[in-house]
Symmetry: C2
Subunit: 144 residues, 2 copies
C-alpha cells in the first residue's frame, strides 16, 4: 500500500487526483500506475484500470488469475468491473470513497454469483491515502 | 446500428466475440471500434470502452458531453460505468445480454442520483447483432 501511495503522490504532483494502484502476483510486483485522466484526456485512465492493463501487457494475458490489485482509493464501478473482467483474486483499497466507490454505491459485483468470476475485496485503511485526497480537494476548492 | 454491426462482423472475422460500438455527436461519427480483447490481451478492450477512448482522443477531452454510444450488445458493468465516467448523453444497444449486461444484472448506474452524471440507456433491438453472437458461440461450441 505504501508503494501505491507513492504513485498517488506522483499523480498529485502532476495535478491529477492523487490515486495509485499496483498489481501483485506471487509476492512479485507486476505493474504500477497512477491516475493520468487529465494528462491522457481519457476518462478510463484511472490508476486501477491502467495497472490492470499494464499487468496484462507484461504477462501477455488478459487473465490476471491469482493477482491482487492494491489501490489507494476504493475503486469506482468501472475499475471494480475491470478487476472482475481481468479475473483478479483480490482487491485491497486504502481509503473509502463514499461518493464514487463501487461498494459504497452497492455495486458489489465482486461477489455476484451470476457473473463468471468472483473475488475478494478488502478495506485496508491507510491514513495517508485518505489525507492526500482530502488535502488535494481542499487545495482545489481554495483555488476556485 | 448498422455501422456498429459491421464493426462487430470485423471482430468476428478475427475470432473475437463479435461486438462493435460507435460514438456519435451532433449527427457526426466521432469514433468506431470493435472488440479486440484477445488480440490486445487486454480485458478492457471491449468495443464500447475502445470507442469511448478513441472519441476522447479525437475530441481532446475526457468529457463526451452530448455524445451517444451505440453498441451492438448491452454493455457490461465496466462499459456502462465507462460511459458514465465519460458523461455521455445516451447509450443505445442492439442485443440484450442476460448473463453479462449491466442492466440485466441490475447495475443501473446510468440513473443513479448519487453519481455526478446521469444518462439514458435504450434498447434498440437489431436482430443481426443478436444473431451474429448466437452463431459465433454456437460455432465455438462445435469446435470444442
Amino acid at each position: 500500500m505504501e508503494k501505491a501511495y507513492r504513485l498517488a503522490e506522483e499523480a498529485g504532483v502532476r495535478g491529477e487526483v492523487p490515486i495509485g494502484a499496483l498489481i501483485i502476483r506471487d509476492d512479485a510486483l507486476i505493474s504500477g500506475a497512477s491516475n493520468t485522466k487529465e494528462a491522457d484526456k481519457d476518462p478510463t485512465s484511472h490508476a486501477e484500470l491502467l495497472a490492470i492493463r499494464a499487468a496484462c501487457q507484461t504477462l501477455g494475458n488478459w487473465r490476471l488469475t491469482g493477482a491482487i490489485l492494491i489501490t489507494t482509493l476504493e475503486p469506482c464501478p468501472m475499475c471494480l468491473a475491470a478487476a472482475q473482467q481481468a479475473r483478479v483474486k483480490a482487491v485491497y483499497y486504502g481509503a473509502t470513497d463514499l461518493k464514487g466507490g463501487a461498494l459504497s454505491l452497492n455495486y458489489t459485483l465482486h461477489d455476484n454469483p451470476k457473473l463468471n468470476h468472483q473475488f475478494e475485496v478488502h478495506s485496508f485503511p491507510f491514513e495517508p491515502a485518505k489525507k492526500i485526497l482530502t488535502d488535494f480537494f481542499r487545495a482545489r476548492r481554495n483555488e476556485q
